[in-house]
């Protein structure tokens, strides 16, 4: 009995989480433009997706910025995390609190603050400002996902490596980084998704000609969101799902070895 209840509960939770995604994928094949009516099965939104120039540019900028920003913020964030980890307790707490500030700051404040900063420094808004903004809001999340892994680390191992003649840089590469790798990868993925997701900060820090998908979709809202977005979301979902499966397979293989 207890088993059944818990199974029911679990399936309800999963239903709640995945129903919107399933509906989205189904409606990407809907021939009618409206959510209300089912007009038959079609691939036309997928075809239109490749014709729509706005969506294509937006997709290009979204992916370029997400990957670049995630890479840079992962590198900077990991280095900062290692630095913070090696501080004395008081300073460490201070820096951790400073790190929390951008996270709890509302996006709109961050966005407008960054815009004013760029403008007062006479930087023309565009690709580079949007990228810098994304790196800025990504870094704290990377630090937060790397730090717990560092805390699990046995300090003696690094010291042993140094004792045995490894240079600090060598021990960083061969000892520390391999052990905190799961945290780095999580940090990268969080940064990547945050960057794809962001509307408010992007809107205020981008200039003419550079948009991302969030801005594009949000701007469509006034006139009804085009079903091509359903098609695009389904494709992105498929890519992410594929990536997850590959990563899973790799980790199970590694475990077996």
């Amino acid at each position: 009995m207890k088993n059944k209840v818990s199974k029911l509960y679990l399936s309800l939770v999963f239903l709640f989480l995945y129903a919107p995604i399933v509906v989205l994928v189904i409606y990407s094949f809907n021939d009618s433009k409206s959510r209300g009516t089912w007009g038959g099965f079609t691939f036309k939104w997928y075809l239109e997706l490749f014709k729509d120039r706005d969506i294509k540019t937006a997709l290009y900028y979204t992916v370029t910025i997400a990957i670049t920003a995630a890479l840079i913020s992962t590198i900077v964030g990991t280095i900062s995390a290692i630095g913070i980890y090696n501080m004395k307790t008081n300073r460490m707490n201070l820096f951790l609190n400073i790190n929390y500030l951008p996270i709890i700051n509302p996006d709109i404040v961050t966005g407008i603050a960054l815009m004013i900063l760029f403008l007062s420094a006479n930087i023309k808004l565009g690709f580079s400002t949007m990228l810098l903004a994304h790196i800025t809001f990504d870094i704290p999340y990377v630090i937060l996902s790397v730090l717990p892994k560092l805390k699990q680390l046995d300090k003696n191992i690094t010291e042993a490596a140094l004792d045995l003649g490894a240079t600090p840089f060598y021990s960083l590469r061969k000892i520390i980084i391999p052990q905190i790798k799961p945290g780095i990868i999580t940090g990268f993925l969080i940064a990547f998704t945050l960057s794809i997701d962001d509307f408010v900060i992007s809107f205020f820090t981008t200039g003419s000609g550079v948009t991302n998908l969030s801005i594009e979709i949000y701007s469509m809202a006034r006139r009804g969101i085009s079903p091509t977005i359903n098609a695009l979301s389904s494709l992105m979902l498929a890519v992410v799902l594929g990536l997850l499966l590959i990563i899973n397979k790799r980790t199970t293989l590694q475990v077996k070895e």
Binding site: R35, T37, K124, G126, G209, I215, S219, G224
Partner: protein, 343 residues
């Protein structure tokens, strides 16, 4: 180590390449989402040998915040009339040289000499529309013609209102016979009380989903903008639209050129390009809002011409009122609407 260096160099190069601006002549346009047939942009690029940078914004307020802060160099902005009024009063717009826009002669006189740009110096009308009521003819009986329908207790729980303060308050103010730009506190108070009285009848306060819910027969009556009504009526034959007899809101979206535009000539060429008869007709087919072009209006398809949402009678147009930029008095509306929603 070398690997990291290469990576860093590549990334730096990437960032810097984003900074450098190309030497080609470019036209930077800032517009609402999905508010132009994009093929027109491609054709303009080919015809004039230039590049078009096209960017979209969600609401006029977002656009204003960005342009006001500086650092952008849009050559052409398409936005609502009350926002143009504000930008003119803040000296953010450049006067347009109408010698470059011969097609201006085709713009309907109804939309020239309006209070927002009283000397026709700063803007060229693009599309227009009205605020009205869409209803399901199978559920609603008779031929409603008044704002009273939104307060009709027979349809309790089937009425949709807009989560947009000026629009929803406009319906109440007009029902009471007041101006929708009133700054008289007791009039706004009356409208607020009317909306609070209406609340038990209302199914939801929404903006974007209204269209879908009406098409799917999930609601019977909704406050709606005319262009969305045209789109909904195309999908569901049972729907009908009217502009209430007490008068309503009429709005104009127009093209204007901001002060820091670096390609004013090209922006004027583009305005002339989209206001040609041929291109206006193509744009109508994509946007579905009412056209300001007198010649194009005669050639739109019959179902549009006969649709009261697309082509309302002159009498209704004369009675409709535009939103004005209320400046600090907007706070009265803010407060009233907050009270309605929180009640």
């Amino acid at each position: 180590m070398k690997k990291y260096l290469i990576l860093i160099t590549m990334l730096t190069a990437l960032i810097l390449s984003g900074c450098s601006s190309s030497q080609d002549e470019t036209l930077d346009i800032f517009n609402y989402g999905q508010y132009i047939d994009e093929e027109l942009l491609v054709e303009f690029e080919e015809e004039f040998g230039v590049k078009v940078n096209y960017q979209e914004y969600p609401t006029p307020e977002d656009m204003y915040t960005k342009v006001k802060a500086g650092g952008t160099d849009y050559d052409l902005i398409i936005t609502g009339e009350y926002m143009i009024e504000r930008m003119i009063s803040e000296d953010m717009l450049e006067k347009i040289n109408f010698d470059n826009i011969p097609n201006y002669q085709y713009i309907d006189e109804n939309f020239k000499n309006q209070a927002y740009d009283s000397n026709n110096e700063y803007s060229v009308p693009y599309f227009w529309g009205t605020l009205g009521i869409i209803y399901n003819t199978e559920i609603v009986e008779g031929n409603p013609d008044s704002w009273d329908l939104l307060w009709d207790e027979n349809y309790s729980g089937q009425i949709l209102m807009m989560d947009s303060q000026r629009d929803s308050l406009a319906s109440a103010l007009k029902k009471l016979g007041y101006s929708l730009n009133t700054t008289n506190e007791s009039e706004i108070e009356d409208a607020k009380n009317l909306l609070i009285k209406q609340k038990p009848l209302v199914m939801a306060y929404i903006v974007d989903e209204a269209l879908d819910m009406m098409i799917a027969d999930e609601a019977a009556i909704s406050l709606i903008w005319s262009g969305e009504a045209v789109a909904a009526m195309g999908e569901n034959d049972k729907l009908n639209y009217y502009i209430p007899k007490e008068g309503s809101n009429i709005w104009i979206d127009a093209a204007c050129i901001p002060k820091n535009a670096d390609n004013k000539d090209l922006a004027e060429k583009f305005i002339n390009f989209v206001t040609s008869k041929k291109n206006t007709l193509r744009n109508i087919d994509y946007v579905w809002y009412s056209t300001v072009h007198t010649e194009a209006e005669k050639e739109v398809e019959e179902f549009l011409y006969d649709n009261p949402a697309f082509n309302p009678s002159q009498e209704k147009i004369d009675k409709a009122e535009m939103f004005r930029d209320l400046g600090d008095n907007l706070k009265l509306y803010d407060d009233a609407w907050t009270e309605v929603i929180a009640h």
